[in-house]
Symmetry: D2
């Protein structure tokens, strides 16, 4: 009998404030639209839109922004049974975006003392986790205590209960104290995960080196738990390494790009969904790329998540040009 959730995502849910006026610097932007943001929240919302049964563990600000996030998750069919509110006045993280041009999108982050980083180990419930096949961990949640320990506890509980761990590296430099800490905690969780997904830069942070080698990265992890390692190289596409030795390359689909943010989260949502539906790895890579191509052409990250039909239509439409 299958479990209640295909996966539970753990980590931050935050607020995006996207420039309403395009093609100008933020100094000249006077109006901002509010959306839910944050990598694991976006992945959860995106996968729910694709029909997955998804739960969420995270801490929200006890204020108007936090209440909005919770409502939005629920309206998106993401179960909020693992969501708690911060009682100490910590605020939701914010991301102000400016959209100067498709190539130039800068983000102004408010991440000091944000509520999501105050999730405590005791707020991670083994009962809730027992309902899931997989746990999607976002690396940013490892950046500070007590969220760091909450994640480590969730990982330990996942091991104790034979729950598969999917680790999205999701490295953001702010909030981390130094690169050594990144390397220690990223490699600790990666060694315990079944699937590890990240950009080449993120793998370099995990290995505390520059210009690392994809094969070496995957081979190191295959000494431990991982069975599937995805390393992304932006517009050049991505590589998937399987423990059995198989390697796959994924390519980017063409898109009418409005802005670049949101691409990684939509990629992860669709890739994980396709894998969960039993698609082979090379097919799942297409789902990830197609989903990313759709989101970068739209204004938000969460609201813009495509449904299965849109993704499959894009894959079908660009089947001839894919990889060329």
């Amino acid at each position: 009998m299958s479990k209640k959730f295909d996966f539970i995502a753990i980590g931050r849910a935050a607020i995006d404030l996207n420039a309403v006026e395009y093609n100008r610097p933020m100094e000249e932007t006077h109006t901002f639209s509010k959306y839910v943001g944050g990598s694991p929240a976006n992945i959860a919302i995106g996968a729910a839109k694709l029909g997955m049964k998804v739960g969420f563990i995270g801490k929200l600000s006890e204020d108007q922004h936090g209440h909005y996030i919770k409502s939005y998750l629920e309206d998106s069919n993401v179960d909020t049974g693992g969501v708690v509110f911060d009682k100490d006045g910590h605020k939701s993280g914010l991301a102000f975006t400016e959209i100067r041009s498709p190539e130039e999108c800068s983000i102004l982050m408010y991440r000091d003392e944000v509520a999501d980083l105050f999730l405590t180990p005791e707020e991670v419930s083994e009962e809730y986790l027992k309902n899931t096949e997989a746990l999607v961990v976002s690396g940013t949640a490892l950046a500070q205590s007590p969220s760091r320990e909450a994640i480590l506890k969730a990982v330990a509980l996942a091991k104790d209960n034979d729950i598969k761990i999917i680790f999205e590296l999701d490295y953001r430099p702010y909030t981390w104290k130094n690169p050594e800490e990144v390397a220690v905690y990223y490699s600790l969780v990666a060694r315990e995960s079944s699937v590890v997904i990240g950009t080449r830069d993120e793998f370099d942070m995990m290995e505390n080196l520059k210009d690392g080698n994809d094969h070496a990265s995957a081979d190191y992890l295959f000494n431990y738990e991982p069975e599937l390692v995805i390393i992304k190289h932006g517009v050049k596409g991505s590589y998937a390494f399987e423990k059995n030795g198989k390697t796959h390359r994924g390519y980017a689909y063409k898109s009418d790009v409005l802005k670049t943010f949101g691409a990684g989260d939509s990629y992860a949502a669709a890739f994980i969904t396709a894998l969960s539906h039993g698609k082979p790895v090379d097919e799942a890579l297409k789902y990830g790329s197609a989903s990313a191509a759709i989101v970068v052409s739209k204004h938000s990250s969460s609201d813009a998540m495509p449904n299965l039909e849109e993704i499959e239509a894009l894959i079908e439409k660009q089947s001839e040009s894919y990889g060329k």
Copy 2:
């Protein structure tokens, strides 16, 4: 020969994000408009609009928000010779407002580790201060180090150079560690000031008691430097105490209220301007009240600051009903 500035304001300049949609909770507000905010910035902008020669000392975030604030101050004829940018990544303070109804306006503040509180003593220049007749100190800037020490240094330099100090208590509970600190630093600066302006609640914070007595508050301060003490009682109006024993009462003007925030800053801007123009205290109280009545009927705090003609027109128009 008169000095370059009528006054220099010192303290925070921040960002207000005001709900574009009215009469609803913030959870249901999807768009926000950006303005400059922060009490001493508002006072400086308001007074400049009334024709005063005004300078500003403060620290801004080195990002899109900080650059916007600096431009706005300059466009408002506030001299930014005392403005510095934060080199350590601290952000601008934010205030999200919701406007449920004229009586219900809540504000969601982002004030953790904000740039304005990182102004250092060495960033306060004696040369710049020597250009001014008066220094307007905002109490919030005393809440944390190093801004606290920057203010104490500015106060000491003002004493050394016979510059009159006007102290706007401007108490905001967030950012202060405990009431004892408020009392220590507020009374320290108040004892050195010529003019002290605040609400009854703010005087109570300064005196670390409840339900204090206006006369006792003024008499205590008259043992030290203060010559004029203004204690505000909201819609009931305000009282002005002079060291020579005279007492004046000010009344509120009628207004078509949209929201209540911004009232105190516009009051201070107009009151200080009137005093500086040589108006008697009871007349200056009218300018303060009229300015406040205008700002509460409009959408922002800074942009909505009235000019002299508007204030004087209101005083003229409501001259019969004033105080009744």
Copy 3:
């Protein structure tokens, strides 16, 4: 070919200031004698005295106390190739002891911002670690960053290099922020260790419960790496559980007790040494107990560590009364 070190201990080395005058409260003690202290330093010194080849990784204060500790380690034949000095002014931890009576010995600790807790991951050298058969980890070093990450890195390097981990729980309440953190990091390292040693109270801290069961504690760990689990019950003796199902009980030897501190470290030093010499587990338990019995009869923890002859003489002498 055997490696250079039988084991490397990692963690704190500190200063003990032991009351020179006995049988009185510390308020009335006027003179203190200085010794090296700190659990992993004591274990290293104790084992070196028993003929083991021992290295040490830790951070010392760059002052008279730190220099003294380094010299003492070297004079005790502990290799200090992994020792670094703190460049930021952090001090050595201190433990003032009073000896009111054999039953009443209180310790006054100075552990705020101490140098040993500032060991960084980059100060843990893989080259140095490659020289050892085993790594002895002291739980206290997990209490704070960056020492915590230094330990986690050492543990990861040990796994990568097939180095056996011996985990001495060594729980001290000061310096830990809350019990949840203890549980997270203790269980994380315990699951990766071959040998886990602690008191019942310490296992309870690791499991975040009260009055835990020895068999359950051992069985849980046997799902992961551990092969040998030692749980100590003070004067009632200790239990050793082997992954193969065997269980052993150790007993306390009689002693002319002067003070109780130092017992655990001398126990660990002798137990690890005996195991390393190929003694069976039940025999190694006797070495631990005998060593502890000797140290509690003497004035210091480090200086008082016995040699093999003393331990074996005690075992021989009390062979008839042992366990009765």
Copy 4:
């Protein structure tokens, strides 16, 4: 009618651990003797020994060291009505001394998170202060919050109650965050004090400059409250400036120096006592110098404080060589 206390000292009381073995570096010192230390505690003890009626305000560790300090103060006839114990586990400050030679005495300080710096404003009682003629403020107590605010409150209460403030600059670099803070708070308290005592280096810290001029320092302060300014130049002696324009020079007495620490505190104790007894300033300088000459020839700072007869005997004995 005279008040209960000639003066109340406010600030730290700590533990000195003086090397029992002389003429060697601390690394080779194995035994330490315990004494009460800390500048304001030493001044209080020293003055009480000279017959002054003295009170003390400060915070002690709730442990064996704190209890010892309180008993010692009481045994020295210092009233401890203003002493409170820290309830949050903060420890007493420590000073380990080594005595390599009369010229080389280094001190190893433990001053992180020490109890004395946690004195709060609400622990400073106006009722207790009303009992005193004068308040002796030690500059080190201004280094950190909340002790800083406790001192500022005590200074404000002293002004409100016409209590004379004597400010001993007592600058110690550790515990201060940066020189700008020193300058801000030192000059703030100095401007409110009647008597300011410090070394030339300490006045330079207060003025945030190098190689300042004694006359300029005194003249600046005479714009505010101070009536007497003492600037010490080590073995070259000291200068006393009076607001009425008189200047006095003090000289050092010959002494059989064992170590240099403790000199400043004993100087202050005797100088303040002599002034309080109505001695003229030039005579009081002799008392200060004589007291310092005696303490530097002995092993401790507090225990070694001389009585009046010893001081006057030395002044008498060296009357011919004084100043030559």
